[in-house]
Symmetry: C2
Subunit: 390 residues, 2 copies
């Protein structure tokens, strides 16, 4: 299912935006936004078509359809060991909006929220858009080095309202251990902080690493946790716009629903995205398993290949279909390298700029490997040829 | 296409929320949220299924797909006589969000925006959510009585930034005349105000009334106007969540795009909704024409029937598939009447509460007639039986 023949570049060149095939010059391979090059599982299309053929697209419930909420609750209860009530699941139009509205719900002007550094920009963006202050917690870039919980605790003040956790961590691919999560959870209880647990990458974990949701550790930690997740990474549904926000109890659900603007109809999750997600969760686990097997292989090719490039040092990610090599020894900045790679190697990557991932991303580039072996090998060949002749 | 046989109540009872079939007790007819009871045009389903069958749902462009922007621009250029550049069309996830983000773009804390009274709650809600002040302009409840432009001008202060125009006007069904629109437009130029032109009802206009977009009057007025529209009223697509925001120039487009949060991926319009809207605009004009012929007939049945009910006085709407009878002479408040109708007549309506439509809606109820003749006649029969025995 994940061979090069499966990838339909003619369609991707029309449909894949956000720095991807439809946004780059012809001939350039975009290892940019984390969005698979493979078509989605056929069961997803079939479910959409069945629903669509009945020609009714009436208003959905503000909270989401019950078939959606039940699928999501089942998934978190059975696969994540997080006791989840369907009545506490809110269908949202993306994990990004889930993060944004959770910040809107819990951050008032001047409130502080702790984000790890490096991490994807959406936490900082969402905190600041809601007039909060993001406090940066520097963490090791090595996925297997544990975080220093004492340093994290030192950052907590009377203004701290939230700890933002991205697990697995984009861009380093770290999968947090149970021990780390337990310490974070205990801090959240001690200081009564909301844990915003961004679990969008939680399906993409490579053996022998094991994913743990912080909300699965114990009931008191779960009561502090808002889980946000989405379906673009696991199932290739970014353009459908679907995500979930999961509250631990009625009170927090109500706060989130108020913040969502769903009841006013200003926002909401479209019905076909809900149909697609329910099909993915209920019928496509087989597809996801094969995808992860393929991704594990792609990860190994990337790490091996990138480490043979002069000046590149690439650690092995534990999760996410991203590699994040340190490129400082090339003598080039990430931005200069980005330009060189797009012009000479015809490969587009994401530079590790502060505005995208925090200061600690400096000197790194990020590449997505959710594509075929042919495309990955061709990309590494091109990058190698360009850099090794420097 | 609009007979009772076309309506599939079994599906509506599963899919139509927001106070409609799936939200009311069995046996109750919901003439509540303005959402048609008929299935959408088959071309819309077919377009969705063709797109979906290719199994690629990659990230859409932040601004919307070019096929969507071109369809929308063509529609406004050809059908609305508003010179529209596809590059100034922003695909959004609903007209409601279009209104919200236009307020976010142009209203700062303490700024004033003028809304007509009565009008749908979304203007006031969006202004206040962005810390603005909504200034109420009382207008005649009779659709054919022109507004007093001098009274409107008196409300303009140095803090006024925007005039919010809903044309045709929900809930009274007023279709503004060219003369009225020209006077509003001239005020906007004189005081340099943005006109937020909510055109979601602009397809639903009954002969001999003719719809005019305020942006079609002249180029200087167009330059002050942001058009917001959606596709739920005309084509029954509320659950797909699609709308458009149309800027008059590059500068305003850029301000709106920044306010939209589309570039951060926090918001955006899902691809299948864009596919559906392009199909609706490009292929389904025949369907809309038939729908309006049917609606004209339904309007006449409603107005005649409601005026035979003791204490009801129902004016003839010029547009919108809504009737808005004055029920003060029943001696009941709109809320009491709502309860009585749902309990005894088994018909759900929307009470004319200040929070939904402004103070001038007091003493009125709103009924949607986007359903079959059988359902309309049954509803009026039930309401008549309940009220006339009082």
């Amino acid at each position: 299912m994940f061979t090069n023949n499966e990838i339909q570049l003619d369609i991707l060149k029309k449909r894949a935006f956000n720095l991807r095939w439809a946004s780059v010059p012809d001939g350039v391979i975009p290892l940019t936004a984390a969005d698979p090059d493979f078509p989605c599982a056929p069961e997803i299309s079939e479910a959409i078509n069945r629903y669509s053929s009945q020609r009714y697209f009436s208003y959905a419930p503000a909270e989401g359809h019950s078939f959606f909420r039940e699928s999501v609750a089942n998934f978190h209860s059975l696969k994540r060991n997080v006791n989840t009530n369907p009545a506490h699941v809110l269908a949202v139009d993306s994990a990004a909006y889930g993060i944004y509205m959770t910040c809107k719900a819990f951050i008032k002007k001047g409130d502080e929220a702790i984000i790890f550094n490096p991490v994807d920009f959406l936490f900082k963006h969402s905190i600041e858009a809601n007039q909060g202050v993001s406090i940066s917690f520097a963490i090791p870039l090595q996925p297997d080095v544990i975080i220093d919980i004492n340093e994290l605790e030192k950052l907590i003040t009377s203004k701290t309202k939230m700890i933002c956790l991205c697990n697995p961590l984009n861009p380093t691919g770290k999968v947090f251990t149970k021990t780390e999560l337990l310490l974070i959870g205990q801090l959240a209880i001690k200081y009564n902080l909301i844990i915003l647990s961004d679990e969008i990458w939680s399906d993409i974990v490579f053996e022998p690493n094991v994913y743990t949701s912080i909300a699965s550790l114990d009931e008191t930690i779960r009561q502090q946790t808002v889980i946000v997740t989405g379906y673009s990474k696991s199932y290739g549904l970014a353009g459908l716009r679907a995500g979930s926000v999961i509250a631990p109890n009625d009170k927090i659900f109500e706060i989130l629903l108020q913040a969502s603007e769903h009841q006013s109809t200003v926002h909401g999750c479209n019905v076909l995205a809900q149909v697609a997600v329910a099909a993915a969760l209920n019928e496509c686990e087989y597809w996801l398993k094969e995808f992860i097997i393929h991704l594990t292989h792609m990860r190994n090719i990337c790490v091996d290949g990138l480490n043979k490039i002069d000046g590149f040092k690439c650690l092995t990610p534990q999760g996410c279909y991203l590699v994040f090599p340190d490129i400082t020894k090339t003598g080039l900045s990430a931005e200069t390298l980005q330009k060189k790679l797009i012009e000479e190697a015809k490969v587009a990557i994401v530079p590790g700029l502060s505005q995208w991932f925090g200061e600690r991303a400096t000197g790194h580039i990020r590449l997505s490997f959710a594509t075929s072996e042919d495309i990955i090998k061709e990309s590494i060949y091109r990058i190698t040829k360009t850099i090794n002749k420097l």
